[in-house]
Amino acid sequence: MNEIIESVKNLSIGFNSQKGKQISILRNVSTNIKKGETVGIVGESGSGKSTLALAMMGYIKQGLFPLKGECLFKSEDLLKMSSRQLEKIRGRKIAMIPQNAGQALTPNLKIGYQIDEALKLHTDLNKTERDKKISELLNKVRLPSPETMAFRYPHELSGGQQQRVAVAMALAGKPDLLLLDEPTTGLDVTTQAHVLELLRFIAKDTGTSMIYVSHDLGAIAQVSDRIVVMYAGEIVLEGPARKILKEPIHPYTYGLLKSIPKLSLAGLPASMPGSQPQPGSINEGCSFYDRCNLATDNCKKNSPDLEHIKELDTNVRCFNYKELINQNNNLQTSITKKSNNSEANEVLKLKDVSISYAKQKFFDQLLNKISDQNPTVKDININIKKGETIALVGESGSGKSTILKSIAGLLKTKDGQIKFENDRILSSDLKMRNPNDLRAIQLIFQNPDESLNPNHTVEQILSQPLKLYFNLSGEELKKNIIDLLKKVRLGEFYMSRYPRQLSGGEKQRVAVARAFAAKPDIILCDEVTSALDVSVQAAVLNLLQQLKEDLGTTYVFVSHDLAVVRAISDRVAVLYQGRLCEIGPSQNVYKFPSHPYTEVLLGAVLEPDPDIKPKLVAEDIVEEKPPEKGCSFQGRCPRKIGDICNSEVPPWQIGENGNAIRCHINIEELASLQQ
């Protein structure tokens, strides 16, 4: 158990900047991987975690090169090996499970061929033995009908299935060490929980060591024995998983854990100020100095070494770690938010809204006949009060973004009405809406990289809505822009910046400022934090809440992340396949009784706590179309009671706490089942 498989010694990796300076991305990293152990490497984007993981396979990305140090696999330095030697190790001794299996599988080759290729390279089996092995492997990763799966192309599989194929491919060479680079990022919550469960099973079953790289402490908590925390290219904390997650003694880890929204906590997570420094920008002192609330003058001048603390079995890079010992009760706290006035008027009503993506056939169009009897989104009835944050939650394909787009007028509704202010019907066609309605409803997109014009400065970006809706110009325009920037906590000097000169969090702040420039009544938020790092996400959530409390804006907040939704929203609507399952005040939706789908979602959430295991109650099958009749969740429901679920749309039942559930099971019975 204590045999060391791979050992990284004083590794630094960097690149040459355009000015000819050497800039390091990894600085002096040392760590050991023991046999049979799973090590989680966690850090935010740009922390160097993927670079470290790839270097552990002897792979350095183009443009980078090792500056010093070594990666010893069974006491041989991978970084000094020829590519011939590496081919013998990669896939056979160390195998990789990539982040996005959809892109990591070669599109023109069948699944079976790609697994066979690994078998041919790394085993001596003959053709018939290999064929047998392929279906064994596909069976092992629990893919449905493994016999026919081998003849399919990667794009014919769902995201979860592709990830399973990648696992099967990695297992083909019976490696001693598995490297997992964000293997569940980008998968749906339930799929993610299932893939993690599979990985845990494989680690136990085969005794393989694993290196699990992720930004997600929730996923890391589920699989790791030991955790390495990286910040700005350095290891800042390393130790047993439970210790790191429950008693973090580095201020960065502490802040990171506090900034994760948790299911058990209502209210917003605390945010860390600032963002991670760019590579090459740190000259002296601790790299976390700018963001640290324990920092002293010593931290500014001298950079701390990684110190081993025997009694905690932990390495920490901090001068002041002692202040954090026994501070951990504070981890389970959050910022309470003001809830809205429940007497407020209803500002937006969705009445029987249905939306269809199906194109009308030519002749149907002529006859003005609507052909799609089974639209993507159907029968949505939601009334939204002024000043309320309502969240639409569901996995991909649940129709949540579709609904948002049709409120914004970007997508026509097939049936039903969207009513705004005093029951005035909004046209479903953007061009038919009057300018004031357009101003009143603003949209913030998921990815600020794509929603901000790269050729416009922040000033230009913010001045557009001000000019368009309020005809501002000159000094007044400038004053308004500065005010907006102040609102989102950005300084005046950001005006002349281009989006590429901003960090992810700053870009999203600019996007928020642009939405608020129109002085809107309703802001539609489409997964606004899912492209951001956790610590930045907390800051953006706090900002949105603050702005809402100051200005009385109404949010429609779309997210797949139940913990984020819990933190920000007053009311939650759970969607499956474009149909509402449950709607109610958020504190009640997160309590039982729930709709069986809400139960499945809540069970699959990964908490950054090794003691809370996800509950897998339903299969992670992907359904391409909503069922034609009956309950939308009939295909996956763990509590299905019979034919009635397939034939009749379930009725709405109101629970005692005021949340409405659409299920055939009596609500009291549901409550006792879920106890």
Binding site: Q103, T106, P107, Y153, H155, A166, M169
Partner: protein, 318 residues
């Protein structure tokens, strides 16, 4: 799949029909007609009447179109004015000559372009890439009338190795042609190969940077196996359409090169018949060139469909 092919062929036929209409109408609305052009100053009185009668210009336009179109469908393009011989006889040898020139250029140019593109991509920013890329960019930027003239000057006049211009009857045999077309082929290939090599290069570079290539490396796949199994099939797929356009361009007549080398191909025929105002020939050429473009693009689309598993299963599912 079959339905899709039929659909595409149908669309192609509609395109051809529209092209034929446009050329016919275009010829109609031009001032003067075939007879005034042909007779020039004598275009009056009895001679003109006789000519109009002989060519059937006295019947209404739509009847003439239908008559012409039905003949074309049967493969008969009518009579040329200037040569007063069946257009099929005028076209036949020209089509053959163009085919010979195009196919020799394709056989040499396309494999060369693919090889050069792959070499430059795999040795990106190293010596082979820098050398080949400099040459390809150079030959891309020089207009063909200059490169062709230079070729004649150096190879034919200074060195005297090959004939400078092609002086052969338009019905020469294949072997007679072959020795004469070396210089034109070189001139055409220079530009064509350069363009395609650049395209293949960027496509290979793009695929080399993809996640699945990194995955193949991390799986332990040996370098050349990775290049042939994981990179090339995906990188060359988008090249098919460019190859198709190039072939169509070649068959449609490389006008400038044909003129410089005095090569009796379709391109020169286009110029000649336009300047002679030989309208029936112009019409026939328009139809033939349009069919070449439509046909070759159809083949390219179908090939892409067959080779790309993604598109293939998409079509089957529909």
């Amino acid at each position: 799949m079959l339905l899709l092919i039929l659909k595409r062929i149908g669309l192609g036929l509609i395109t051809l029909f529209i092209v034929s209409l446009i050329t016919f109408v275009g010829v109609e609305v031009l001032p003067g007609d075939a007879c005034t052009t042909y007779l020039e100053r004598e275009a009056y009185g009895a001679a003109l009447d006789a000519c109009i009668k002989r060519l059937g210009l006295d019947v209404p336009a739509y009847e003439r179109y239908l008559d012409w179109a039905s003949n074309v469908v049967r493969g008969d393009f009518g009579y040329s004015l200037s040569g007063e011989m069946p257009i099929n006889e005028v076209l036949g040898p020209r089509v053959k000559n163009s085919l010979v020139l195009a196919s020799v250029s394709i056989l040499i140019g396309i494999p060369l372009a693919i090889v050069l593109g792959i070499i430059t991509a795999l040795w990106r920013d190293k010596l082979p890439d820098i050398m080949i890329s400099t040459i390809t960019i150079f030959s891309m930027t020089i207009p063909e009338f200059i490169s062709a003239t230079l070729l004649i000057l150096i190879v034919a006049i200074w060195l005297g190795w090959l004939p400078g211009i092609v002086i052969i009857p338009s019905d020469a045999t294949f072997y007679e042609l072959l020795s004469n077309i070396i210089l034109p082929v070189v001139a055409i290939s220079m530009i064509m190969t350069a363009h395609m090599a650049r395209m293949v290069r960027s496509s290979v570079i793009q695929v080399m940077a993809s996640d699945y290539v990194q995955m193949a490396i991390l799986k332990g796949v040996p370098y050349w196996k990775m290049v042939f199994r994981h990179v090339l099939p995906n990188a060359l797929l988008p090249a098919i359409n460019v190859v198709a356009l190039t072939i169509a361009w070649l068959l449609g007549g490389v006008v400038v090169t044909e003129v410089v080398f005095n090569y009796p191909g379709l391109g020169r025929l286009v110029i000649e018949s336009i300047s002679n105002r030989d309208l029936p020939v112009v019409q026939a050429l328009a139809i033939i060139l349009a069919s070449i473009y439509v046909g070759i693009n159809l083949i390219a689309d179908l090939m892409t469909l067959m080779l790309n598993p993604r598109l293939k299963s998409l079509q089957i599912r529909k």
